[in-house]
Symmetry: C2
Subunit: 413 residues, 2 copies
């Protein structure tokens, strides 16, 4: 099959998305469809029906992940998996996760209506509780099947009403079997909205996601000496905020030393925070990201040294502790190359980029050669009812997904 | 009289201070003697008794200020006034204000026991509600008699229990007559603790206060653009905190351009203050002080320009508004010279300096040639139960006060 002979049915895909947008619809055009809620159950039931309509072999695993399997010529061969999640944030958007699942369904429909047989089987997946809004942490379904979390851990997580994940899963009727978990996967592809504004600002339709940035949060505590602003001479001061202001400059300049590094100081608190009192203590948190774990580690090491020097020169004490770290993920070059080729064939503009947020593909990449396709988010807004990806971009993203899935399932890439 | 023939009675002064320290004593060695409270009444009653014991002519004015007048040879001539306040902050110290009143009393006692007649009459004063802790703003007694506040304004100020100044004044029995207000004053001298650490750090006993610094508070609001830390490229950011950090550096550097200028950023708040979100807004307040009103105005003008340039270069918006201004006060050269000479005669180390905080002398300087003597505060601590001035420094300050009062009251200076 030459993939360009086939294209997705734009109207059908948009209508399918519209059905989803009506389930858990919030007042201002968004969605509130928390994982394992009644709304999630309704969406799942409809989704399972759609899978059956496409004659897929439907199964549910012990985390409630839903799989729809389409046979391949080599049905005992490895699977090409595609999907994302149907749950949302409270007052979230209509596209985050949803697009990746429903565009995958559209791909299956196109293959089916054209009677296309692929070499390898294709599995479309809806992962449970990606958002982590009801049951934290996020990505429990994909993290469960890849054994990043134990079953025991996941089952006992409670929501704000003290209902456990296990209870919620049973109550909506989606407690499946451990035998049904994802296995023998060759590739996993996730189409997702960017949740940033790079594609929009570059007037580009397709983001070829090379990986997910690694991230560390460093808590910096600067201790000086609280004193009255009136009598204390400038030269005798130990001003924690003045020292901090120099550190923030340094944190920013670090991105010029390490190519591709991103640093942000988003949280900063001053003590005692009184106008005529020299600040005795400032605590701030540095968010530091890079696609390479090694580069991030080197940058952190260098930064710690530089901040300590600033502290010394400003006569203040400093402590730096790592609050949280999430390692970078590098996606498969086979998959990114496949996405690049598909975009080119379709004549769509594309851009290589890294994802800031995590996604189900982060965990699945541990067991399969994986990749992600991004489509533009208007103004970069997500986790918000105003979230929007325009129809043209939805169509383009789904067309690229169709081509990539078809190529991978035929071993063309 | 040659003043050096007489010295204050250290033991008596310390015992008098000890009596004060027992009235409204707080658990940790401090004082809680709010203006016009029961504790304040007890202190006032004892103070009035002490004044009577010294045969002073006691009078109370319509703000509750207490005066004790000692006749001079020229009893119709102008008065030499000396004093401070006996009220304290909640959990304040034992010396702030109290020292100035009780050392003045000690001066009177020395003059009396040595039968010294002065040319001009001497008045010792306890001003009502200097602290402003119960009835804000501060310095109501001294501000009232100098007509910086109207009687109507002062009388209607309410404390946190909705009790007016007037009600409180009546209820403790210290509502006096308008005719009793301060009048025909030649000089006013206030001995006070430094409330800073300059004297201590310079190992100096006497601060010759040349004036009270003028002060402005500028509210700076920096507006950038809130965005996710992950996807937003460094070059597309409008980071309000990064821009602010450069401004804080500039605020500090300004003190190198203007000799004697003091700048402090004590208050700073970040919005939304979330670790992985680029700050969209920062508001901070600049405290800027200088003994000269003109220099402070020039510095502010220069600073506004410089901050606007930083805003422009960092692609953020800035607004700067003046929150509050208090003009500088220049004390009388006759008085500061008298303090310098007295310190020299006693062989005490001294230092010319400016006061950061305001004091009763600020208002009285509008109607009389005024000045202040500072004595060291351990570690610069005040408005705190840990406030301390050591006995040696108390003695030295009071000796200088004795000499200055005596000289001024004899027209020697």
């Amino acid at each position: 099959m030459e993939s360009l002979l086939y294209r997705i049915n734009r109207r059908r895909l948009l209508e399918t998305i519209n059905v989803s947008s009506s389930i858990g619809a919030s007042e201002n055009g968004g969605l509130s469809r928390l994982a394992l809620s009644e709304e999630d159950k309704t969406m799942r039931d409809i989704f399972v029906e759609w899978l059956h309509q496409e004659k897929l072999d439907v199964r549910i695993d012990d985390f409630g992940n839903i799989y729809g399997r389409r046979k391949g010529k080599r049905n005992d061969g490895p699977t090409i998996a595609v999907g994302s999640h149907l749950d949302t944030q409270p007052c979230g958007g209509r596209y985050d996760g949803v697009l990746g699942v429903l565009a995958a369904l559209e791909v299956i429909r196109v293959l089916n209506e054209n009677n296309i047989e692929t070499e390898f089987p294709i599995e479309i997946i809806n992962f449970t509780n990606e958002e982590g809004a009801r049951f934290g942490p996020p990505m429990l379904g994909s993290g469960g099947v890849t054994e990043n979390f134990t079953k025991n851990f996941i089952y006992n997580i409670k929501d704000s009403n003290d209902i456990t994940f296990k209870q919620a899963l049973k109550s909506i009727g989606y407690m499946g079997e451990i035998e049904n978990r994802l296995s023998n996967v060759k590739n996993f592809i996730e189409l997702h909205i960017e949740q940033g504004s790079i594609l929009e600002k570059n007037n580009t339709s397709i983001g070829i996601v090379e990986g997910i940035q690694g991230m560390s949060w460093l808590i910096v505590k600067v201790t000086g000496e609280t004193n009255h602003a009136g009598p204390t001479p400038m030269e005798n001061r130990k001003d924690a905020l003045l020292a901090t202001s120099k550190m923030i400059g340094r944190v920013n300049d670090l991105t010029k030393e390490f190519d591709g590094l991103k640093t942000t100081v988003g949280t900063l608190n001053v003590k005692p925070n009184i106008t005529n009192v020299i600040p005795g203590e400032v605590e701030f948190i540095i968010d530091i990201r890079h696609p390479s774990n090694e580069t991030r580690a080197n940058a952190i090491e260098s930064l710690k040294e530089q901040l300590s020097t600033i502290a010394l020169m400003n006569d203040v004490e400093i402590t730096i502790t790592t609050d949280w770290t999430s390692d970078a993920v590098e996606f498969s070059q086979v998959v990114t190359e496949s996405i690049r080729e598909a975009s080119e064939k379709w004549g769509y503009s594309s851009l290589n980029m890294y994802s800031g947020p995590g996604h189900d593909a982060k965990y699945i990449s541990q067991v399969a050669e994986s990749g992600m396709i991004f489509v533009p988010s208007c103004k970069g807004i997500s986790h918000n009812e105003q979230e929007l990806t325009v129809d043209d971009d939805i169509e383009k993203g789904a067309n690229v997904l169709l081509t990539v899935i078809n190529n991978l399932a035929n071993g063309t890439n």
